[in-house]
Structure formats: structure tokens, C-alpha cells
Symmetry: C2
Subunit: 262 residues, 2 copies
């Protein structure tokens, strides 16, 4: 680990509360001890995550629509571990300060309690009912944008139960036949998105719990039209129609799979 | 919440570091404020989790083989939330003490930082190669016991990548075609087991990373014979043959599904 830190070929992804820099940079003097080891790049150069004062970072949601998938994955990983380290400066068990171990992947307090990175499982799900799908929108989103419903998994809850509960809480809809589709890490702050399809059973959609501004059905035609457009949820055109999540989001994968299975 | 706590019909699952009591008990004086609200039982009585001094608890692994699934689920949930609360007495961001909010499902520090229950995603996977499956054993397990390989998901990692990485790290085997099967919460301390099947691609099994004592192939015949036996991983007979995980474990579901799909 000392050798990796001292390697002049070492690069670091700069991360912080506000986002990250897309391009890795050389480590500066004094940064080597606190850099979090992320792995070895092609060609053998070690890659780290560092926080750096006075650097203007780009928001991760902006990076999510502009970076290639592999680079976005590295930035997401760097941000995830750094977010966790920032939230684990003290021990939750005894309140004493923690220090980094194992290249920054464990934090250890003065009483020897070990803390490992936290990853919060989030279910995200598209409810289908033949030729229509259920989607919702948050008030803060651009006009026209709708996406799959989502929510954190609670302790003691199987994924399939979390899917059904979140849909019921957010929309009043009951579902059956919950099917896993794919997963995707998402660094807000350190989430693991678990994508599902579910089949409509009963109920009428209403935005129930205050998280969503609206939740409603969209027809296959509406979704097909929106999917063929040059849409993005950031800096997108102020359209009248439906604006889908970008290609890098797992919500879009769920939508595209549903269209393809139609 | 005050009404639920004061309800004379309220019951509580007693939990602690060492395990839990299988049967819910009445709340005692002074326990009402710290009791963690778990939900409302059939009949309308609220259910809580409490920690209580001087009570002899039964280990959760013992309870896992003796309790019906629904009751085990409630005990697992109670233990999971209580384990998280015990590990979140102080704020990881600023080190100040936390207090319970929202019925015990959030902990809030003096500076207003909110902490939500942590659930650690764990992948558990059975590698199949036609008529044989790969399983491993830890040194602490009863003689003859083998189970599916498992490991924590790392930050920034999709589930399917975690499955392939853990198998490679623990056994040296490379896999393809990783398929989600089912999930199960597991309160050690607060895990969510995510069960997968994977298909063998290359390599010879070796216990590589020190976590496992042995990792090897078992034939369909060996597994079928073991599955038909009255086996259990606790207080099981000291058998010569293969001892499979109990019916309540997701590892056993993965094994039974593999046998059924044969």
C-alpha cells in the first residue's frame, strides 16, 4: 500500500460533497496518507480517491449523463467510499474518533471497533399492466420527467416485499409477480439500486406519501415516443411530453426492457 | 406512537447481543420510551423490540432452525433494528450522542444529523456445472457441513459483479451467466442475503482467502442424498456424509432449486 501511494504513476479521482472531477489527477504532496485506494488501472497505475479544497466539482447527476459507463462506475465507486468515510469519522458504538485502515476501506476507532463501508439497498421498480406502465415524478424534477418508483429496503425485509410495500405506500397500487431485472450502484450517498418489474393487480394510482408530486399510468405509445427522443433529465429541453431518465440510469433500463418485452 | 406504547395489549420481542426470546412479552414499566416500534400484529396489538437485562436469550442461529418462518421474520427484524440502534449510539459525522426518533427507526444527534438503519447486502451463490455444484465450509461449522459461497457487496459494485468477484476470491473459479434467485433478511448483524445461481466457466476450486477451510464440487447424487436426510446445521448428527444448511436458510433454497431444475 505504501508503494502504491508513492508510485509516481498513481492517479486520484477528486471527490467531495458536491460531486467529483471526471478526470483523474496526480496526487499532491500531503495527500498520500489519506487517499483511499480504489484499485489498479489498466497498465498497472494505482487509482485513489481524494478530497481536495478549493476545487470546483461537477455534480454526480451531471456526470451520470455525460461520462462513459466505465468511467462513471469508477467515479461512483470513489464517491461512495469517500461519502462513507466522511460519515464515519467517529465510532457509532462509542463516539471516539476513527482512523483509516486497509487502504481506507475500514475505519477503526480508539476502542478497536471496526467499521466497514455501508451500502444501502434501494428497490426501483416499473409496474406494468399490459400496455401501460406506472411512473411517478418528484416536484424538483424538470417538467415532464417521470421515472420508476423507488425506495429504501427496510431491515428484516426481503426485496420482493420491499417492492410491493413501496409501490403501495407511494401510489396505492397493489402488485403481484415481482421479478428481479438488474442492479446498479448509485452514489447518493452509497446506494445499490435493485431493479424490478412487477405486474399490476389492483387499485388506482394516487401520490400518497408526499415524496412524489404525481404518479400515473403511461401508455406504451407515450413511452415509445419518449424513448425515441433525445431526452435527458438534466439540461433537457422543456418539452410538453414525457421526459424519460437518461440511458445511464437503471430506471431507463427497466423502461427499455419493458418496451422490448412488449 | 405514545398511544401504541401505552396500549396494554402491546407486546415486545426481547432482543440483545446474544440473541432473542422467541415469544413476545408484555412491556415492563420504564421500557416504553426506548422500545422500538416494529408494527401492528393481527388483532391490532402493537409490537415492539426491547433490550432487557438479566434475561437468558436464545441464539438467533438456534431460533432460525426452530421457529416458523413468520415468527423468525419478526425476530430477525427486531434483532436487526436493535443491532443497528446499538451501533448508532453516537453520530459518525460529529461524534455526539444520538437519540431515537420515529418509533426508534431513526437516530438523531445533537447537531441534527439523521441516521437510518443500515442493511448490508450480501451475495450468496451456488455455482453449477451440469451435474455438480460448488460449495465451501468454514472451520467452525459442524463436521460435514457445506454451503453456498457468500460475501459482502462492496460500494460501487453491481450484484452480478460481486457474485463473480467473491467466487473468484474464495475459490479461484470463474463463472458466467449470474442469475438472481431470491432474497432473505438475516440479522447478523443486519444483512440482506441476495441469492444467485451462476454457471461454471473455468478454474479448479481451492480455498484461497482464509475464510473457508475447504471448497469443492459435490455431485447431484451426493446433494440429493443429503437433501433427503433429516439434517440441520445445529446439533446435527456427526455424519460422515454431506450436511446441508437447514430449510430456513436461503442457501438451502438455492440448493433445492438447483436440484429441482436438474
Amino acid at each position: 500500500m505504501s508503494a502504491a501511494r508513492a508510485d509516481p504513476a498513481a492517479r486520484a479521482i477528486v471527490v467531495g460533497r458536491a460531486g467529483a472531477l471526471a478526470e483523474p489527477v496526480a496526487l499532491e504532496d500531503g495527500e498520500h496518507d489519506d487517499a483511499i485506494f480504489l484499485g489498479v488501472q489498466e497498465g498497472g497505475a494505482p487509482l485513489f480517491a481524494v478530497e481536495r479544497e478549493g476545487v470546483e466539482l461537477k455534480g454526480l447527476r451531471d456526470l451520470a449523463v455525460s461520462l462513459p459507463a466505465a468511467q462513471l462506475g469508477a467515479v461512483a465507486y470513489a464517491s461512495g467510499v469517500a461519502n462513507w468515510a466522511r460519515a464515519t469519522r467517529f465510532c457509532g458504538i462509542c463516539g471516539t474518533a476513527t482512523r483509516a485502515g486497509e487502504g481506507g476501506h475500514v475505519r477503526i476507532c480508539e476502542n478497536g471497533h471496526h467499521h466497514h463501508p455501508r451500502t444501502d439497498p434501494v428497490v426501483i421498480m416499473l409496474v406494468g399492466d399490459g400496455d401501460r406502465v406506472l411512473m411517478g415524478r418528484q416536484a424538483s424534477w424538470p417538467a415532464g420527467r417521470y421515472s420508476a418508483l423507488a425506495g429504501f429496503v427496510e431491515p428484516g425485509e426481503p426485496l420482493e416485499a420491499a417492492v410491493a410495500r413501496e409501490i403501495a405506500e407511494e401510489s396505492g397500487i397493489r402488485v403481484r409477480d415481482v421479478r428481479y431485472v438488474a442492479s446498479q450502484p448509485w452514489p447518493f450517498p452509497v446506494s445499490l439500486m435493485l431493479g424490478f418489474h412487477a405486474t399490476y393487480e389492483s387499485g388506482e394510482p394516487h401520490a400518497l406519501d408526499g415524496e412524489l408530486e404525481d404518479v400515473r399510468w403511461f401508455t406504451r405509445d407515450e413511452v415509445t415516443t419518449a424513448a425515441s427522443g433525445d431526452d435527458t433529465w438534466i439540461d433537457g429541453p422543456d418539452v410538453d411530453g414525457l421526459l424519460l431518465p437518461p440511458a445511464t440510469a437503471i430506471a431507463r433500463l427497466l423502461i427499455d426492457r419493458w418496451l422490448a418485452e412488449g
